[in-house]
């Protein structure tokens, strides 16, 4: 069963890390929800997504296995990856290691 308050916390943390990577000014104009894509909606450069993954790893630790998560996606899935996909992955890993 998903833990809604925890999911909201994780989403806030992910958005904070996004702001670190792309800057607050840009994100002020964008409403970020679970369906927001990193590519089309946020216009994240691929190297910025690498930087975001670094922050996610630093925050959630290697047990969240982001390299494995990314390696498991094909290119279409990567391009269409959403904020919700990342939040779900983190929450699932936390439940698995709880």
């Amino acid at each position: 069963m998903s833990d809604i308050p925890r999911m909201n916390d994780i989403r806030s943390e992910v958005v904070r890390m996004l702001i670190d990577v792309v800057g607050e000014d840009f994100l002020l104009d964008v409403e970020i929800g679970p369906g927001t894509t990193f590519g089309d909606d946020l216009g994240l450069e691929s190297i910025e997504f690498v930087a975001l993954v670094d922050r996610l790893r630093a925050h959630y630790g290697d047990r969240a296995d982001f390299p494995g998560f990314i390696a498991g996606l094909d290119l279409d899935q990567l391009v269409n990856l959403t904020v919700g996909d990342v939040v779900d992955h983190i929450a699932a890993q936390e439940r698995a290691h709880a």
Binding site: F26, L42, G43, L44, S46, I47, V50, A51, P67, A71
Partner: protein
């Protein structure tokens, strides 16, 4: 951001997997950075038992941009300085496009430090005058367009943030550094030099690539060489050709670098 300081510059570096062997990825010019390997070849190579090192070349990706120092000899010095900072001595190099030229020149400059070379649609080899004229002309045309048509600003106005940032990086490199002059001063790697390469080489070229002649020179002159031609592909073999490259790269690394033999059909 993981980074190392080498030759007084901050280089963005990513490492994954455990080795030995150590496999170092060297990306292409201007619009390229380490992410093109990060999302394609690095994870599968790490999975078969290699320590993968990816870094952004000077002025590219998240590495510092300097006004000068974009020639191949500086790029080779940068590469070995980054490896020194990370504590890696003998490595396998995988280079794409200009990164292939860097890898090839690195193997010629320090044969004791390069155990094997994978050259993916690599620039560098040439046997006559004007060997890289087309390449330089294309870059110069891009430089003019980026500056005079203010492409980065226009893309941003259309809401294309990602492409705008890619264009802005290319504009800064091509119009506000010595990169074009440094490349114009670059010498080709001639057949006589190719014959002296002591390490095994895997060359992978697109069938319709504008640098396919370089692949043929490598096959003809490098003593220990395999050439794989990618049917239907142009110079831009990544990311579209990722699965096909892995099908030749992983068995080659298993044979020459001692990584695990991948399970059949494991390459995506």
């Amino acid at each position: 951001m993981p980074e190392v300081t080498a030759r007084g510059l901050r280089f963005h570096v990513q490492e994954c997997g455990t080795g030995p062997p150590v496999v170092v990825f060297v990306h292409g010019l201007a619009i390229d950075n380490l992410s093109s390997f990060y999302y394609t070849l690095a994870s599968p190579v790490a999975e078969v038992g290699a320590r993968c090192v990816l870094y952004d070349l000077r002025g590219h990706g998240l590495t510092e941009r300097t006004p000068t120092g974009y020639g191949v000899s500086d790029a080779v010095a940068d590469l070995f300085a980054v490896l020194d900072a990370l504590g890696h001595y003998r490595v396998h190099l995988v280079g794409y496009s200009f990164g292939g030229a860097v890898a090839l020149n690195a193997a010629l400059a320090h044969p004791g430090r390069v155990a094997g070379l994978v050259l993916i649609d690599a620039h560098g080899p040439g046997d006559g005058p004007g060997w890289n004229e087309d390449f330089l002309n294309r870059l110069a045309q891009s430089a003019l367009k980026l500056e005079h048509e203010r492409i980065a600003d226009q893309l941003l106005a259309f809401g294309e943030r990602r492409m705008s940032r890619v264009a802005a990086t290319a504009d800064a490199l091509l119009n506000r550094t010595t990169l074009l002059d440094d490349l114009a001063a670059m010498d080709p790697v001639r057949p006589a030099q190719l014959t002296t390469l002591s390490c095994p080489v895997l060359a992978v070229y697109g069938q319709h690539s504008d640098v396919a002649d370089a692949g043929r020179l490598i096959l003809r002159h490098v003593p220990d060489c395999a050439l794989h031609t990618m049917a239907g592909h142009t110079h831009f073999v990544l990311p579209a050709g990722t699965a096909e490259i892995l099908e030749v790269l992983l068995p080659w690394l298993a044979h020459h670098a001692g990584t695990r033999v991948p399970a059949a059909g494991a390459a995506r």
